[in-house]
Structures are given as structure tokens and as C-alpha cells.
Symmetry: C2
Subunit: 420 residues, 2 copies
Amino acid sequence: MFETNNLDKQSCSVDSAISRYLDEIPECGLEFENIRVEESLNRILYEDVIIKMDQPAFDKALIDGYAVKSSDIFHASESKPIKLQIIEETGIEKGEKISIASNQAVKISKGEFLPENADSIISEDCVVREKENISVVRSICPGVNIAKKGEDLLGGEVFIKKNRKIRPQDIGGIIGIGYRQVKVFKKPVITIIPTGNELVSIDAEPKVNQIISSNGYVLKGFVEQLGGTAVISSIVKDDLGQVKSAISKALDVSNLVLVSGGCSSGSKDYTLKAVKELENSRIIANEVDMRPGSHILLAFVGNKPVIGLPGHPVSSMTSFHVFGKPVLKKLTGTPRSLLQDRKDTIKLDAFLAKKISSPEGKEDYIRVRLIEDKNGKISAYPYTGQSSFLSTLVKSHGIVKIPAECTGLYQGDRVEVFLF
Amino acid sequence: MFETNNLDKQSCSVDSAISRYLDEIPECGLEFENIRVEESLNRILYEDVIIKMDQPAFDKALIDGYAVKSSDIFHASESKPIKLQIIEETGIEKGEKISIASNQAVKISKGEFLPENADSIISEDCVVREKENISVVRSICPGVNIAKKGEDLLGGEVFIKKNRKIRPQDIGGIIGIGYRQVKVFKKPVITIIPTGNELVSIDAEPKVNQIISSNGYVLKGFVEQLGGTAVISSIVKDDLGQVKSAISKALDVSNLVLVSGGCSSGSKDYTLKAVKELENSRIIANEVDMRPGSHILLAFVGNKPVIGLPGHPVSSMTSFHVFGKPVLKKLTGTPRSLLQDRKDTIKLDAFLAKKISSPEGKEDYIRVRLIEDKNGKISAYPYTGQSSFLSTLVKSHGIVKIPAECTGLYQGDRVEVFLF
């Protein structure tokens, strides 16, 4: 059995930490809400969308032209045109069911009912109109330019499977089959708690030894990109009581709490202690074998996840990508499709422009800046600067992950870059 | 010279149409606005963000520990610890500049000022505290665990270049260097005009020969994904006067007008006529060699682009991707970076699961559904169904483009799929 009590001083691998943590995040119990279809872009479907009725609901014309019996004009050609009589043209607009006899035709517009006995639509380019008649100069196969009842969609079948992240065209489709509302997963609420005596709010003027609190806004942006609702709490001082109370309050209104800072083992780091003192708390991991961002806290209070992230900007972002992102995906309704994963995690191949060494036993996340040369070759320039540096945060285009057992990469090595 | 008068009956290639159209869209004249940095996610920078002052603004500690002169402890080891006297610890919190003499140290927290004469921070793990002294058991190199003034950022230099689409980490960086506001391109306003006698509004109950107007919502979703503000106008009947007046009104308040439907050459198609009758209008292309979506209208009224899109859902979406997307990118502030392009246009390689044939002389856009097998091989199943079909719209994962000169692809061919 895994003993949580001894864990907080013990380090573990990234994979083991994340899989143990995800396993315990409740799959079911996610809530849903009904929203208007046209407001559902990027939301996650809570249940399958079922086709209400056959589409088309009737055999219909796909182009403007004349509805005909194809057998009537089987031998039509430029040299031997076949004459058809045009019958009534008004009822069709009103949705009345009309029918044609042999050697008759009906002028029809795109989308209208196919008259009974007609089996195809011949376009105006292939006929010569003469008052009440047309001369058809070409033959046509049955079924051409019409859509048969139910050919597009069959009533009762699944139109879109649940868990899809709704795209613009899905909105059009769902409206098209007659729904006004759609059932989607509720957006999870994520409260972000910035901690640190050195932090001041964005509207304050920082003294020389103070820092404007900015990690919260970075995390908020990522949370929103992933489909959550982010709330940034007031800045909390490095004080056990205050950190504890902030987490406790946040838990009341959140599905996930992110504590920014205070996760290291310094004298002013209270995140671990605060979580431990909360009722029903469990620590899943407190230190992981990665760089930057080894000082991470993965915990639960009751069944709600609480993640402590490092305070340095680069470590904070890296840890969020490694741990926060998969948790958030699960909380938003786990869209699992191959394609959604490809869209959420954009990768590209590049060639390393400079040798990098990496400590054995730690997963290393190296920020890189990408530059494409004239021939389309993409080089990745690694940043090995301090994880407190803002410059690498904005100048880097993505991350290269170096596995724990690898001690470095050579210049020219092909690397997979995760764009962010 | 290119003669616009003869053009409307003349077909042209996709590339020629789009390049002529884009060339005429005014590059300059895009407006900017100042917004709060924390609300700038996904907006496009209008000008370079300049670093206000050096960061760090002073030499500072990167970890908790003791600020020391490294030369004092050059010979320190477990067997020969070196004793340093700890001096005053309070001034440093207030931002006062203090200094150490030889064989002195100052207890310091992460982020605090480095005292004068100190050149590195030794962590608490490497010392034994004894009241007013510490015994240091390890040597340290100068510069370790400190950040020098300006090492991260140099005042006056460019922090982020203009035209970047702002990412979460960029928000953190821009706040971190002291900005509260950021200058971004104004979001262009795109009015979408649904036209067609057969259309009814989303809140109406359609009769059997009516269709709920849904293309507008699809286009709205794409416009918003691309960073525009979309407004859907009321449904307009197939009537020259009404179409003309709707376009004219939309132009007053929009940067781009998208007319959905009425672009074909049928008796009820008035988009081209309406645009032609508007003052200062110019038709750039009216028919292009592509499938689906050959009936497209690319025009200007004054210097404002007006695009007419086909009414069938699949054609509408395809034409928007081919023509609307690049226009919108230009109107939002043309983010040009390699990476942004990769993120905006997600592609993957797949193997074609079924032979497809394609007309020579037309670019063909084939919808495909992707299925990954156990070994990670992705197969693309082409949909060749009608472009009016809602089913292929929601079931397809992306598009394969077949060049005009290509007449088909074989089963097993490797294809590049543009995900949508």
C-alpha cells in the first residue's frame, strides 16, 4: 500500500504522481447544464445528440431546374430533343404534394419537394423553354440532383457523440436538426490563490523588493483556454492561518484550487502545512523528479483536488502544463477524441540548435525558441536561464521534454516541441 | 490590366482569386485600442512592448539562504567548516541597502536585495546555524543563486514584438514588467447576412419546406475563433432590394460583410446584382475553380470587403476556410509568426482509406473522417456526399485539398488533413 504519511519528504516520478492523482479524481458526478445551442462553442457535450427525424424529411431538389421522370428523357440529345409539358408550378411552394405523369415536368427550386413520380432534376442549361413546354437535350440518370428522404440523416441515430468539444459546424448541425438547447458539462470553477509576502496587486505600485502578482493571470489564461472558469483570489501572505483559510474558502466554491507559491520547503512555505491541517486532506505527492517545478503539491481535501504550484513564473507554467492541464481536462468532461487531443496539444518537430545536458533521474522541461530557416528547417534554441526569468517565458515558443533517464541531447538532435 | 467588367461570368483559380483579393485589402488603417493587460488573452499586439527598466532592478537572491562572499568560504568542507558571523537581518526586508565585511553573512529570503560585497547565496542545507554564527560546510562559486541587475531584461529593449497573439504567459510577462494596459488591434466587426426564402429563424418552427437558418452560427463561431466580433443580421428574403439594403446597412457598421447564400446564378440569387448596384463596388471574383463552393463572390464596396458564400452548409464552410479565413486574419492584425500559423491551422498526415477521383481544373476539398488504429496509423475516410448534407459537416474531422491539376488519389496515398 502507498503510505501518504511518509510521502511529503519523498520524491517520485512525474508519471507515477500524475497517474495516481488522476485515478482519484472522480470521473462521475460532473454536472451538466442546458444552454442555447448558439452559445455552445467550445463546450463539451454531456450526452449524445440524437437525430430527431429523417433528413431530408422528404425527397427534395438539390438544384434549381425541372423535376422529371428520367425514363422519359432517356434518349434525349442535342440532335433529338424530347419535349415535356410543364404542369402547375405554384402548389410546390406551399408544400403541397403534386405529381407528374409521363412526359410532364415541374419547374422546381432548390430545396423544394420532389413531385410524385419524378426521380431527378434536370438543370435549366440542358433544356430549351418554349412557353408551356421544355425541350430536353440531354439524358439524366435517376436520382441525379435530388436528395432522398433520410439520405442525410436517419431519425433515432446518434448525430454527435457525447464528450465532443463543440465546433462551429457542430452548432450549425445541431440547430439544423431542430434543437434549440444542448446539454453540456458545466464549466468547472478553478480558484487561483496567489501567495507570498513579496507580492502586490496589479493596481499597486511595487516597492523595489516587491513583485507584481502575475502568475495568477497566466494560470487564468490557461484555465480559460482549457474550458474552465478561473477566479483569482486576493493575495495571501506567507502565514499558515491565512493560507489555510484561503484554501478552505476557495474549496467551498471551486472544483479545483490552485495555490501559487509557498510549495517549497523554505521557512515561509506554508502550502503543504495548510493543506495537511485541513479536515479530510490527503497528500498524493509533494515533490516530483522534474525540473523546473519539482516542488509541487498534489492533494485532495475531501474529493476536491488542490494543487500547489511553484512561485517562479517558468516553474509555475511548466508544473501547470504537466499536472494542472490533465486534471482540468478531466474536470471539464474529458474530451478524449484523437483529434481533440491533437488540437489541444500542438507539437512540432525541430532540430536542437545547441547541446543541452540534463540531470539523470529528473524529467527536464527545456524551453525553446524556434526559428525557421529559408528551407523550412526549424531549429530549437534552448533557454537554460533561471526559472524566475520573465524573458524566457515570453521568448520561448514551446517545451522539449527530456526523460528522466536521459542525461542530455546533442546539437542537431531531432526533438519534439510542445507549443504553448 | 485586369478587367473587372468581364469577370462575373469568368472562372479563375483559387490562388489567383485569393491573392488578388488579399492584395487589395488595406494593410494599414487598422485601428487600435488600449485595454487592460489581464483582458488581452488572444488579442493581437498593435506595437512592440518595450522593457521599462532593468529586471532584476537590483542584484537579488533566487533562493532562501545566506548571502556570503564566496572567497570567504572557498576552502570550506564537511571536515573543515568555516565560520561566518551573521549580521543584521531586518533592514533587508525594508529594502535598505546593507553590506557585509569579510567573514560575515546575512540571512536572506528569495527575492530580496543582495547585500553589498556578497556575491552568492548558500542554501540552509550547507550550513549549521549556531546562534549568531553559521558554519559553512561547502564552497560556492561567485554568482550562484543570485540574479544580477538587468540579467533577465534590459530596459529599453523589445520585450514582445508587435503582431503577436497574446498568450497567457505573455500576460504574466507584460504585467511583470510593469504595464497595466496594452495596445492591441481592435477586433474587426463582421456582419453575417443570411439570405433565402426558405430560411426561418432559430426560434421559429419550420414548415416542411423551410430550413432553420444555421450557416450564420457556423460562420459566427469561425469568426470568433479567428478573433473577430460577429453579428448575425435578420434573415433577408431573395429580393434584390432587400439584399442590397441589408448589405448597405451592414457596411456602415462592419469591417467585413459575409452574405450567406444567393451567390449562385439561379433566378433567386441576388447577391452579385446587389453588390454591383452599390456605389463604388468592385467585383474581384465571382466564380472560382473549386469544389464545393465554386459560386463565391469576392468584392469590395469602397475599401470594405464583401464576401458572398454559398448557401449549402458544407460549401459555405469550405469557402469560408479558403477565402474568409485569410481575409479575417489580415483584418485582425495579421499575426505572421511561424508558430501562430501552426496553431491556427492544425494539420496531420493520414492514409487515404478509399480511392477518390477529382475533376481536372478544379481544386477539390474533400471532407474526411479520421480513424486511428491500434498501431497509431491514421486513416482518412473521404465523404463524397452532397454539400447540403449536415451529416458530413459534423462527422468529418478535416479537409484534404486536391490540387486542380490532380484527377484523383488512390487508396493508401498519404494525405495532409487540415483539421477543423
